[in-house]
């Protein structure tokens, strides 16, 4: 029976090509969307889980109470790792790990600025990095050593054997290559291109050797013997900072490595989720899209019930049981879903490069994995069963006598089920349209919101190598200003779009002694306000006309916390030293464009700083200006790449996550809408078929094609209206929840709802009309003749 049914199923699919196309196409798009999203979810979910000990590995987080809140960050004193390992039972390994940053590595003529970090030898025990060359047991023990990743080794040495070769680090230290490890996976939080011993860190940063328990400057990674020690170790760790330094208020705790990436938001010192929420949304989206594709399938299949009804009747009359028929219809739908799966693969393979590029990830289908194939077949069969169940049970329930007598079998009940399914699809599609619109509104709002300074044509250049010498920096500034393409130059102690040092120790008259206020510390040269285009709400910038060594500027956020109406001229204490406020900077976006500005204090420095900020002259041609600037920098500091970038590019990076969400919901929302339209088309096909006779009679009685179109559209418009009514509150709740995590957010206006309403209505009417127009225009006699 199976073979014959299979043959007939194929024959049927071929005979009804249009139907097959709509059905397979819809299902394939649904499956492809679902699998693409699942691949991405699996990628994110797999973060840091490549290492065999990930379950017992922890990142040390530090809770600090300040400004009435608890801040949690992965920054610890350098002393912690060793002390914790010595004093806390159950800790197998503990290592320091420097925040990776790009540094220069040179071999002969090859020079690369790549991500680098410092750590202790035991890091190779915590992470089972795959060692390609060298003896792992000796790694990082010698202070002049470096371990490279494969790609960097290739780039530096080509085909030479890198082991024991000498490379130059930051143009000053000579390091011996001890080993080569495989490149770290892209979804690993611990990432670097080359790794150096912690002892070298101490040599380069002598201050760190003296740094005590109140200086949080590195990450600490801890591996437990096993997780039964967790409670004990965690509670012991809690007091370790205060036990060593009574003045400190740091309370460290263990955060599982596996959660480091996904659970990255903390409130009140506790992990409260983070990226995982976005992941959950995407996971849900994946299944909802698959579901509406299945719904589509059900709709189209039952719509053909009229045609299949007779077959059911006859089969029953020649001895088929209901179970046989259910089996037959299930087989057909699984066949279709397997076909769709094939098509879905073609779609995925075509889309993956684009998708990877868009998301900055490395997703790939691993065809050699058995998990993949089980998942694939499982998904296809599940989809087939899900999509085929309703048609199978519905069609197989037909009473043979009624069918054979020619009674219409499509009762009202099946129609209302189908209407319900269409409403369901449209609720989902409309919700997605609303959410997408709001996400874009929010993106636009943040993009257009004033940053507080002018990011356009503002260039940031890291001060490195010889530029750290004040006279070379002065030379650079002088040359730039004289080049004619630069209007102003200043320097700053942190990248202007990123975080930097912060701390306590600011005191002012009337401060509550018990309260800790965490303040960002920055320093700058002259012309800071002029170069950046920030605004002063009071006072003045640092200037050569004044002796500003004991003067500071503050931002409005700090002024507000201090409760000062007129801060200019006030004297406050910073680490016990009195300083005078000379200016108040209007709050600008420091790190996150979504968050309120943090309090900040800015001092003046003559010496070197982290970055130079260069304002390109308004009259200059940008591309020539960039060339000129590059040339000047290269001339003065030939050993380093210029590494210049535009501040507005850094800003665009900050919107990446939201833009990604916007793009995802746009694309997948589009797919969902498209699939829903196919469903509607199916229903319209069916309705038109059903009402052919009625329409013909109406036409004979004098109805125009337009009258008929209105008649046919009316029902669908009603369905879409109902779907909108349900989708509005639903969409509002979802998007409101999403927005609530932003300090700066758009108000929810009527516009997204109007867009969703008009769009869904327009699409529905268009879809239905395309189909109905044919019926409306058809010659009525054709339909009536066959009665």
């Amino acid at each position: 029976m199976f073979k014959l049914n299979f043959r007939i199923a194929l024959r049927n699919l071929w005979k009804n090509k249009g139907f097959t196309l709509i059905n397979v196409g819809g299902l394939a798009i649904g499956l492809a969307s679902c699998m693409l999203l699942l691949l991405y979810v699996a990628y994110e979910w797999g973060y840091d889980k490549q290492y065999s000990n990930y379950k017992t590995t922890y990142m040390v987080y530090n809770n600090q109470a300040a400004n009435g809140k608890i801040f949690s960050f992965a920054a610890t004193p350098g002393l912690m790792a060793e002390t914790a390992k010595d004093e806390i039972p159950g800790i197998k390994e503990a290592v320091r790990f420097d925040y990776p940053s790009d540094r220069l590595l040179t071999y002969k003529r090859n020079s690369f600025k790549k991500s680098s970090s410092f750590s202790d030898p035991a890091i190779f025990k915590i992470f089972d990095f795959k060692v390609l060359k060298g003896n792992q047991s000796t790694f990082l023990k010698n202070p002049n050593a470096v371990v490279l990743t494969e790609t960097l080794a290739k780039a530096l040495f080509g085909n030479e054997d890198p082991i024991n070769k000498v490379v130059k680090f930051d143009n000053q230290e000579e390091l011996i290559v001890e080993g080569v490890i495989e490149d770290l996976p892209k979804n690993s939080s611990i990432r670097f291109d080359f790794l150096m011993p912690w002892s070298l860190y101490g040599k380069i940063n002598p201050w760190s050797l003296q740094a005590g328990w109140n200086s949080n400057f590195c990450m600490t990674l801890i591996q437990l013997q096993d997780n039964s020690f967790f409670e004990q170790a965690n509670s012991k760790l809690h007091g370790i900072i205060k036990a060593n330094n009574k003045d400190s208020n740091g309370e460290p705790f263990l955060h599982p490595l596996a959660k480091y990436h996904l659970y990255n938001t903390f409130e009140g010192g506790k992990s409260v989720g983070g990226r995982i929420e976005q992941l959950q949304i995407l996971f849900l989206l994946a299944f909802c899209i698959l579901l509406i594709a299945c719904v589509n399938f059900m709709n189209l299949s039952t719509a053909r019930s009229e045609k299949r009804g007779k077959e059911v009747g006859v089969r029953k009359a020649i001895g088929s049981s209901r179970a046989d028929l259910i089996g037959q219809f299930m087989m057909e739908s699984i066949l279709l879903s397997l076909l769709s799966m094939l098509l879905a693969f073609a779609l995925i393979e075509v889309c993956l490069p684009y998708f990877n590029n868009l998301l900055g990830v490395e997703l790939a289908i691993n065809y050699t994995q058995w998990q993949f194939w089980t998942m694939l077949v499982g998904l296809a069969v599940l989809t087939g069963l899900l999509a085929g169940s309703y048609p199978a049970f519905y069609l197989s329930s037909f009473d043979p006598i009624k069918v054979l007598k020619g009674f219409s079998v499509a009762g009202g009940s099946s129609l209302s089920v189908r209407k319900f399914l269409v409403v369901f699809q449209f609720v989902f599609a409309t919700c997605l349209i609303i959410c997408t619109a709001v996400i874009y509104q929010q993106l636009n709002y943040i993009k257009n919101k004033s940053v507080g300074y002018s990011t356009k044509n503002l260039i940031e250049i890291p001060i490195q190598g010889v530029l750290n010498q004040p006279e070379k920096y002065a030379l650079l500034k002088d040359k730039l200003l004289k080049s004619g393409v630069v209007a102003d130059v200043t320097n700053f102690s942190a990248a202007i779009t990123q975080g930097g040092n912060n701390g306590y120790g600011i005191e002012w008259p009337g401060k509550d002694i018990k309260s800790n206020v965490l303040v960002n510390f920055r320093s700058t040269g002259y012309d800071f306000i002029k170069t950046t285009g920030m605004k002063l709400s009071a006072g003045r910038d640092f200037s050569m006309q004044h002796a500003d060594s004991a003067n500071v500027m503050i931002n409005q956020a700090l002024a507000k916390i201090m409760g000062m109406k007129h801060p200019v001229g006030s004297v406050i204490k910073w680490g016990g030293t009195p300083v005078t406020i000379i200016g108040v900077i209007e709050d600008y976006v420091e790190e996150s464009p979504y968050k309120y500005s943090s309090p900040m204090i800015v001092t003046h420095t003559d010496g070197s700083n982290a970055v130079a900020l260069v304002r390109v002259a308004a009259t200059a041609n940008l591309s020539t200006a960039v060339d000129v600037i590059d040339q000047i920098v290269k001339e003065i500091n030939p050993d380093y790449p210029v590494d210049r970038h535009f501040v507005d590019d850094s800003f665009a990076d900050k919107l990446k996550n939201e833009r990604l969400l916007g793009t995802l919901s746009n694309w997948f929302g589009g797919f969902a809408v498209f699939i829903s339209c196919l469903g509607l088309l199916g229903l319209a096909l069916y309705m038109a078929e059903q009402r052919k006779k009625e329409i013909s009679i109406r036409k004979v009685l004098g109805a125009s094609s337009a009258n008929i179109l209105v008649l046919l559209n009316k029902d669908f418009v009603k369905l879409v209206l109902i779907a909108n009514l349900i989708a509005f509150p639903l969409g509002y709740i979802i998007i409101n929840k999403w927005l609530s995590s932003y300090d700066f957010r758009v108000g929810i206006s009527i516009i997204p709802f109007a867009i969703a309403f008009l769009l869904s209505l327009f699409i529905a009417v268009l879809t239905v009309s395309v189909q109905s127009a044919k019926v409306a225009k058809a010659n009525p006699i054709d339909a009536l003749k066959y009665e």
């Binding site: 014959l4 024959r11 049927n12 006859v314 009359a317 020649i318 049981s321 054979l404």
Partner: protein
């Protein structure tokens, strides 16, 4: 073989019982060729469907080969049905998507007959009904008479004990009708197949050994 006792069938319409069959009592023995006759709407098709287990009587006793059908569960009934009953319809009711050969093969598949046996039986049928040349055609490529031949071949191929035919020649010209009736007669005579047919034609009824006359749901004779 078939025993009907006080079979009643009605449809309730707005609380009113609309009787189609009333107190139908009769016995049909193996090897009989019975024709059911009567005016339109008398309930002939309904009676035939009840005998064929496609419909259930509202009331009464129905015994088929000694089994009480009204008390049988679904599975047993389908089993009985598959093995012993073949249906022939006025409108042929072939499956449009299947070729002639496949249409004839289908009941054997449901009966789970082995593949070799199936092939030989189908070949046998094609041969016997002179439609070997048409075996790969689809129903819509056949004339009405040819379709009905396939319909009968499909009913006969499973070697049922009884064939139920509802106006098998209703849509056919008299020459073709004649051919079908002679076929029935041969099946009845040579293979001792029990045949029950519904017909409006006295000529057709004459092929049978007995006539059941139905009027307003009652057997007259």
């Amino acid at each position: 073989m078939i025993k009907l006792e006080n079979i009643e069938k009605y449809y309730a319409n707005k609380g009113l019982k609309n009787y189609i069959l009333r107190h139908v009592t009769t016995t049909i023995n193996a090897g009989e060729f019975v024709s059911i006759m009567g005016p339109s709407g008398a309930g002939k098709s309904t009676l035939l469907n009840i005998i064929g287990m496609l419909e259930e009587p509202t009331y009464g006793l129905y015994e088929f080969m000694g089994e009480n059908i009204t008390q049988l569960n679904e599975r047993k009934r389908i089993e009985l049905y598959r093995n012993h009953i073949g249906f022939v319809f006025q409108a042929y009711h072939l499956i449009d998507e299947m070729t002639v050969a496949e249409n004839i093969e289908a009941p054997l598949l449901y009966k789970k007959v082995g593949s070799a046996e199936r092939k030989s039986r189908v070949a046998d049928m094609l041969d016997r009904f002179n439609i070997v040349g048409k075996k790969d055609l689809f129903p819509n490529q056949l004339s009405g008479g040819q379709q009905q031949l396939v319909g009968i071949a499909r009913a006969v191929v499973a070697q049922p004990a009884i064939i139920l035919a509802d106006e098998p020649t209703g849509n056919l010209q008299s020459a073709q009708a004649l051919q079908i009736m002679e076929l029935f007669q041969t099946l009845n005579k040579t293979e001792n197949m029990t045949i029950i047919q519904v017909t409006h034609s006295e000529a057709n009824a004459a092929y049978g050994s007995r006539i059941l006359n139905l009027q307003d749901g009652l057997i007259i004779k």
